[in-house]
Symmetry: C2
Subunit: 348 residues, 2 copies
């Protein structure tokens, strides 16, 4: 059997993209062995650190070492390109585009347009960026179908933890009636620190210093990140066709030390809970701080760990917990989607 | 596309078998629609309540109503048969055999022989009985491969919760380095009741009355059931090629009220923990009561709920929790395996 080539264009080359490339290098020979596919990265774009394009395949070791040594691609390389992400999406000859650009939480752009461009060229797309799924899932899904394109997005919630694949591949004929989860680590961290007796402002300052909290934590604290994840879960698992703006959202900004203390006196904790269910035939999504009893596994989802529980008609309730993920788990999510592309193409 | 027929022989027709048949009746038309397969049950055996054989398909509604009304198959039915399970395995014309006979925990027999018989006839097999996987997985797997037979066993641990399918279908290239779990509800119940201040003997008597504890609870209390499940997990997920006898097993029979109380004073609980890992290149399995810290989700796994955590090289640690399953979840496990057979045959 001849080895075929799968050409991949990567939009974005931050920590997750770099970890993905390392994993690809590590598993390259095994993939050739098992699937007879040689995966070549033919383009990588960044916003301000240059791009690389080489339709015969970029030397990924050099791409990694450039970033490590210079924090940008070396400008005198033959493969160096000034193409931006949209130019790559539009013009490079690839089979699959991987959307890894930073999330624009209120629009999902330009990631949505990158993926549309790929589909309109009948290319396949993988997104680790949840924006497109939160804001335009139905439209993208329909376009992919029309163009015979594959569209995978496992990494958009809980990194590579196979929540969407689990449902699609292993829970067939099950109807999902409810979804719950804890999916935002910043609020998890802040609530835990306050429960230790610290003041909100001190927790934010210390969290930023320690790298647990972003420079502008408003999107996390106000529940927008959790709302985007809830929209993704409900769009994919329940066909909700909603956006983050449709989620009934309340952040943790108004939670007082006193409320946390009162919960703690009962052995309970306050957590920011993502929820979706069917009410009067309509799928509704909420993000709200809730007091969680000490008997629930939700009380023990701490720090960067996360949980999703799906309630089904045939298989009851199942929870999946991801424990303290690292960037390698994000990389694995993208990697797993690439394998699905190879397997699906193989079947065509 | 023509509708094909999948002929199924069921060995055993207890609660799980009956729930499976109900699910099959319920989803029959959807399966024909989606996969163009008409699933017909052509044989059902029981140990002492008669059997039924009809190569054109048993009337499953009558089979269910006989059991409900008479607790055995009506002897004057045309389909009534005195075949035992092995005679059915050997002689009936089926495509797939479903092994649902009661577990013989120290041998895995006669379930192993049923499955071997099916494979030797180049038939496919599904087992919900964990005996064959605990005692003879490698042998059966090799025989299935040699005979081009399919072999599925999702139901053997955690009912239909897709633990094996999860790993096989969605965690490709991941190497599992460690497995942990709480998988025995009797010991879970007993330890919880003792923690409430009750005496061991009283808990057993009351548990039997309430249906939580079997007539002879020794297999649960001494950890044999958990050891069988551990062997299944390690054989399938880690290729351990071990049996329940190889598991370093300690039950809860020596746990004292005082130990439980001392743990409770720290907010902790004692749980019977299944564990497998690699030590000096060899896979070892243990079943042991352990004190679990109140910060672990394992402290929240109560009653009939269960958990499995897999540690992987590429995807870190993932836990799956099944919440308070009913018999319908066992039925779904078998149903899911039947769907896999149809999909796999479709590909051949």
């Amino acid at each position: 059997m001849m080895t075929k080539t799968l050409k991949v264009a990567m939009l974005g080359f931050g920590n997750a993209g770099q970890a993905f490339v390392k994993l690809l290098l590590d598993k390259h020979d095994e993939i050739v062995d098992k699937y007879k596919y040689d995966i070549k990265v033919v383009a990588i774009s960044t916003k301000s650190r240059g791009s690389m394009v080489n339709e015969k395949g970029i030397d990924l070791r050099l791409a990694l070492s450039d970033m490590e040594e210079l924090n940008h691609f070396r400008k005198n390389r033959e493969d160096y390109s000034s193409f931006n992400s949209m130019e790559i999406a539009k013009t490079v000859d690839y089979n699959v585009i991987i959307e890894l650009t930073p999330l624009e939480i209120f629009t999902g752009q330009p990631a949505i347009d990158h993926i549309k461009t790929a589909f309109n060229r009948s290319k396949h797309a993988i997104t680790a960026n949840k924006g497109p799924i939160a804001w335009a899932y139905e439209e993208l899904k329909d376009l992919a179908k029309k163009q015979d394109s594959l569209f995978y997005y496992e990494t958009t919630v809980m990194d590579g933890t196979p929540i969407f694949n689990l449902v699609e591949e292993t829970l067939e004929f099950c109807k999902i009636t409810e979804v719950n989860g804890i999916l935002n680590s910043t609020t998890n961290y802040v609530l835990e620190e306050i429960a230790k007796g610290k003041e909100y402002d001190d927790v934010i300052v210390e969290g930023k210093k320690r790298g647990f909290i972003e420079a502008n934590p408003a999107m996390d604290i106000e529940g927008w990140d959790a709302a985007a994840k809830t929209a993704v879960l409900l769009n994919i698992l329940m066909g909700a066709n909603i956006t983050p703006a449709d989620i009934d959202r309340k952040g943790i900004e108004d939670i007082t030390n006193k409320q946390i203390e009162e919960a703690a006196n009962k052995g309970n904790v306050i957590k920011l809970i993502c929820h979706g269910s069917i009410k009067d035939g309509k799928i509704i999504g909420t993000v709200q701080p809730k007091e969680i009893g000490k008997d629930s596994i939700y009380s023990n989802i701490k720090g960067t760990s996360s949980v999703v529980t799906i309630s089904t008609d045939l298989m009851g309730d199942i929870s999946i917990v991801e424990h303290e993920p690292e960037i390698e788990q994000t990389a694995y999510g993208v990697f797993g989607d690439i394998l699905r592309v190879i397997k699906s193409i193989g079947l065509v």
